[in-house]
Every structure is written in C-alpha cells, then in structure tokens.
Amino acid sequence: MSKEEYLKQLRRKLKKLPKEEIDIAVDFYREYFEEAGEENIEQVMAKLGPPSLVASQILADYAVKGLDHESGTTKKGFSAIWFIILAILAAPIALPLLLAVIGLVFALVMIGAAFIFTFFALNMALLISGITSVVAGFTVIFQHWQTSLFFIGIGLTATGIGILLFPSLIFVAKNMSATLAKWLKKQFDKMIRKRKGEL
C-alpha cells in the first residue's frame, strides 16, 4: 500500500467525524510518514497497524472527549455511544466477534433506555392518576364529602410523589448514557491494547 492509499483509507474510515477533525488527523499522519522518510514507509505502516485501527482509536477517543469535562447530557451520551459503535465497526476484528460486540452494546443501550422509559411511565402514571383522583374527588364533594376528601387526599399525595421524582428521573437519564459511554470506551481501549499485544 502506498502512503497516499493509506491516508485515503484513513480518511474514509473517519468520514463520520466533523470535516475539521478529519483534516487534522490525516495531516498528522501525513506528516508522520514524511518525518519517518520515504524509505521507512513500509515499516511505519507495520507499526501503526491498518488504517482501520488508527481510525477506531481516533473515533473512540472522540466519543468520550466531550464527556470528560462537563456532565454529559443524554444527547451527548447517546452520540458518544454511537461513536463507540463506529469505532468498534472500524476496528479490525473478525466479523462474528464484531457482531457479538455490537449486539452486546446494543443490548446495554436498550436496557438503559427501557429502564429510563419505565421510570418515566411510572412518573407519568403517578401524575395523571393523581390529578384524575383530585378531579374525581371534587365531583362528589356535594354528595359525600368524606369520599371526596379521601380521593382528593390520595390524588394530592400521588401528584406530590410524581413531582418529587421528576428531577431525579432527569438526572438518572442524563448520567446513565454518559456513564455507559465512558465504560464502553474503557472496554474498547482494553480490547485494542490486547490486540496490539500490549499490557
């Protein structure tokens, strides 16, 4: 493989990144080859590994870059997970293993999403049933005030719990995706290191 071919492949593997990021990365490796000298290009390629490996390291790092400095938002967390999936896709590993890994990541994301959704549904149920109960309580206020009070009380309690739970729900949703992305990056790094025969 020629130097230009190598860089072209690298560029292709990075195409999901912002253009500026791709240019900077490709420039870096172009310079790297030039510094090593024309006669050592084969050697440098052997040391670097295939373009896909170089690309997957860049993608994996890009995924968590934004997560390290500030608390990750859900959107950020999910896009980070997406980049890690891309990194795994770019990594040169056998297809069956690749499918297993992707499946696992997907399952983890789904579990997370299901958990958040369940929590959210519970919260909504509390709010809606609470409000309904209060309304129902008011409708019978002139027929049987004890019943009315009972329903209004229950309703207010449920609504209250729902309102109290809401901020924690938002918090959990935000942090879960970021944590998951970070953990995946760690696993990914381990895998890459193992493959390169390093500890």
């Binding site: 310079e31 170089v54 870059k65 390169k196 500890l199």
Partner: protein
Amino acid sequence: MSFQLGSALLDACVLAILAKKDAYGYSLTQQVREVMDISESTLYPVLRRLQKGGYLTTYDQPFQGRNRRYYKITASGRGKYDELLREWNEYKEKIDLVLLRGIDHE
C-alpha cells in the same frame, strides 16, 4: 511491561516532555515510546484531546519544503502538569509503601 498505563499517565508524560521543549508529532511519539510501551497510533488522540482541552496549542513551521506542526504547552497545560505530578507522587508513595513494606517487614 505488566503494569497498565492509564490515559492520565500518558497525558502527564506528554505534558512533561512539552513543558521542557516544543515538539512535533513524530519526535514526540518517539520520545514517549522510549519510556512507554505504546503503539504508534496511541498518541494522536491524546494530543488532540489535550489540544481541545486547551492544554496545548499548535503552530506550523516549514522544514525542508514541507510542514512541521509543533505542539506547545499552554499556561493551563502547565497547571495540569503540576496537578498530575502531585497526584502521581501521592500515588507512587502509597504503592511504594505497600511494595517495600513487604520487604523490610520480614
């Protein structure tokens, strides 16, 4: 090398080298590789991350008709380096305590 090296240690090494002198990508990689067993493709993401964090800046210099991109440590990079150095020393002392105590305890 049987000890894991985390990204913090790698960051610290890069910052330490640049705290002494600006360097371009290739020479920086070779310098880090002298002391650490990392693959050649490990360093670029590290440099990019440090640059995005504002710890490094880059400038270009022509060399033999081509371009060399030099990395330069910033003030906040120096701060980060001091902080990492402190943490490393604390960590090292604790580990040494355990590893060496095993010997002089006998």
